[in-house]
Subunit: 119 residues, 2 copies
């Protein structure tokens, strides 16, 4: 064993207590990963703007693109990510595809985020 092997913070007692608590309360690795994935989806202003539009109405792709002044392709790529993560759902009507919010948690999460940044 090396001389400088980590003992870290000296207080072995507190340390082991902590490790025990953490191992008991920390969610599974896959849940942590899924959680981070979910918040990553909220972590882009284009997707946030799409969600704000969908707070107001069910909207087709090209109207989303027009309302946000972005290309159809860019919007479509982001809608795919939102849908994969079950934040929005879609419905085809003729040539158009209409998107809407899939989940009430979306509003809550964004509302809490807004509260936070307003201190």
């Amino acid at each position: 064993m090396e001389k400088n092997e980590a003992i870290c913070c000296d207080n072995v007692e507190v340390h082991e207590e902590l490790v025990k608590i953490v191992s008991e309360t920390m969610p599974e690795e896959t849940e942590l990963y899924d959680l981070a994935e979910l918040f990553k989806v909220f972590g882009d202003s284009t997707r946030i703007r799409i969600l704000f539009v969908l707070f107001e109405a069910e909207v087709c792709v090209c109207d989303l693109a027009a309302a946000l002044h972005m290309t159809q392709s860019a919007i479509s790529h982001q809608l795919r990510i939102l849908k994969q993560n079950k934040l929005v759902k879609s419905r085809r009507e003729g040539k158009s595809v209409f998107y809407s919010l899939a989940d009430a948690h979306v509003r809550t999460i964004i509302a809490q985020g807004r509260e936070h940044i307003e201190e």
Copy 2:
């Protein structure tokens, strides 16, 4: 004007209605950016794990590193990001620096996220 200039979705009436609603309800550009920035912070499993530890106790950097099996440097970099975004606060005690949650919204946001991924 080009032949194929976008009229998009044909229904000019609905389109203008939408643009009006969006311009009225969409937050400022800077708020959208700040919101995305905030959620970006939650969008990394290392930072999520740090927050879960801090749900249980006030912890110094090296115990965090030990509990999460990561280097002190990696943890310290992530703590800086968490602190910049006011999700954690810190307190120096001798050589150690103790971190704790800064804000009640953190728990709410993560709780909502967990509810969402559990469908």
